[in-house]
Amino acid sequence: MNATNLHLFVLVVPLLSALAINLLGRRSRQWIAPMVLGSLAFSVFGSIIIMARVIEHGTLSYTVGNWQPPYGIELVVDPLSALMMVLISVVALLASFSSLKSVEQELPGREHLFFTLYMILIAGLFGLVLTGDAFNLYVLLEITSITTYGLIAMGRGRAALSSFNYIIMGSIGACFYLLGIGYIYILTGTLNMADIARILPTLNAPVATATAIAFALVGLWVKMAFFPLHSWLPNAYSQAPTGAGTMVAPLMTKVTVYLMVRVILSMYTPALVFTHEWIAQGVVWASALAIICGSVLALGQKDLRRMLTYIIVAEVGYMVGGIFLANANGLTGSILHIVNDALMTLCLFLVVAAIIYRQGSVSLVSLQGVFRRMPITMAAFTLGAFAMIGVPPTCGFFSKWYLILGGIDGGHWEFVIALVASSLINAVLFFRIIELAYFGSLQDGDHHEHLSTQRHEAPWWMLSPLVLTAVLLIVVGLSTGPLINNVIRLMIPVGF
């Protein structure tokens, strides 16, 4: 056994533990926590070692079953996918601490089913960032989506209906992506991404190529909830079990954005995607609209978790817009924002999970005076809110800075205005909650529910990952420089 297979073990260990959890977890729930945490901890260490190796030795290429690409399935670990592996494993590990606790409360007796899906989802996400094969990507995208449908449907109330909506939208998205790949296969006769990137520019079939690109990108936009196609997301993410939300919300949309970056950079090549300037401009306008609409819709919500889901819609607009600015700063900002947004969303959803665990609801009314009851949780919330708004030492500031620079470089003032406006709306959103939570009463005075002021902090299992995530927000923010120099700059294609 040697280290060449390490990145595959990062994927395989959660997958095998999913089977073991399903089998042993139904006998005794004592088995679940050690297996979930153990396998994810292994993945974290594995990913970090791979990241170090990739930075030192350059891109790793691996063939499954030793069938040579372009015929066999190739796995490619370049700096960006290594970064995504570390991100996924760290977020999944931190989220699983909190999930274990909230699933114990919300789904007693069904924990083994929940964590089987949970671990398969994580394995699927690892597969998505590893693969260098366009069809393999489709299969893994469906694995992650189907497990997510299952996780969301385990929620209470109308969760099953929301999950069904997501199934319909998600399947349409997957079909679109598959059609795009079908066109590509007809055109090039290959499914290997590097091979497609080599053959496609030599073909001189502009209409067919454009159709293929359009189908695949629209498919991915449905999956990532890009603004006009976002309608499935708020219901699905806010009605999912709390434990599912803490992991799905930070990772699913962000990994899909990564897939779009991967498809544009490594498969369709930027030159072909950005041939028609008006298309790229149209997408930037659409993402400016996404940012504004997402933020405004968030303003109208009466529930913290629902509000956060609309903020996710706005954040997807940030990242898509940054990529379609088609310049180095915009792309840097987008990739950086994938990392930062995953951590910020994780932080805020961990807070939601902690508050729901203690008081069962995160409606704005029930948040009155929550600072007094859960001071550490709310301190972390404030930090996460600052990151979302983009206050300097936190990581949210740096990616927004690059995105704004990219917008100015590309002359897209509508994008810059949307970014600034969204930051201001975020400030209003979060300070409204912080005020409510700190000073403790709604101004209209209609709600005189009896809410205790006794200190009742979340359990250690939920608090420690939350505090760690909040610290990470600042650590990642301060290490933006090395992150860009060692990882992201290597991904910027020539000519940007």
């Binding site: 595959l8 073991a20 399903n22």
Partner: protein
């Protein structure tokens, strides 16, 4: 009331007798399809579906309880996980013997059959894993859907 119950339970001599006659042949055919999957038309998925269908046929003709006598819920749960575990396990075994994931020729060090022969035999092991998984999941899906998730009463 009794009529409906008898009808849903499939109390019919012709159905029961023909199912009793057909099930062994269906299962042998399912095994045949799995075993021949790696070098002729067939495969683990198709064979697994046929095997699963034989248990569903039993449930349709004799009731769910009867099918659960032949494959208990516990056995089904084990098979559910055993199938994927065989698939992944073979892959991991290949890496343990110095090859890449799912590179069956590396298993030559375990049992010296020759690397080319192992390429053929390795995919056969994978097909068995797929077959076991598909069979048990098919049956589990049917049990769950026909009993509304309770897995005790139903068609």
């Amino acid at each position: 009331m009794r009529d409906i119950h008898e009808h849903t339970a499939g109390e019919d001599l012709i159905i029961k007798t023909s199912v009793r006659l057909m099930v062994p042949f269906i299962q042998v055919f399912g095994l045949y399809v799995i075993v021949h999957g790696h070098y002729s038309p067939g495969g683990g998925f198709q064979g697994g579906v046929i095997l699963g269908a034989s248990f569903i046929l039993l449930a349709l003709a004799f009731g769910m309880k009867t099918s659960q006598e032949y494959m208990t819920v516990g056995v089904n749960a084990v098979l559910n996980n055993l199938g994927p575990a065989i698939f992944i396990g073979v892959g991991v075994l290949c890496t343990l013997f110095g090859g890449l994931f799912l590179d069956y020729s590396a298993l030559d060090k375990l049992i010296p059959l020759g690397p080319v022969e192992w390429r053929s035999f390795g995919i056969f092991l994978i097909e068995i894993g797929v077959g076991v998984a598909v069979m048990s999941i098919m049956v589990l899906l049917y049990w769950n859907l026909s009993s509304g998730g309770s897995m005790d009463e139903g068609l």
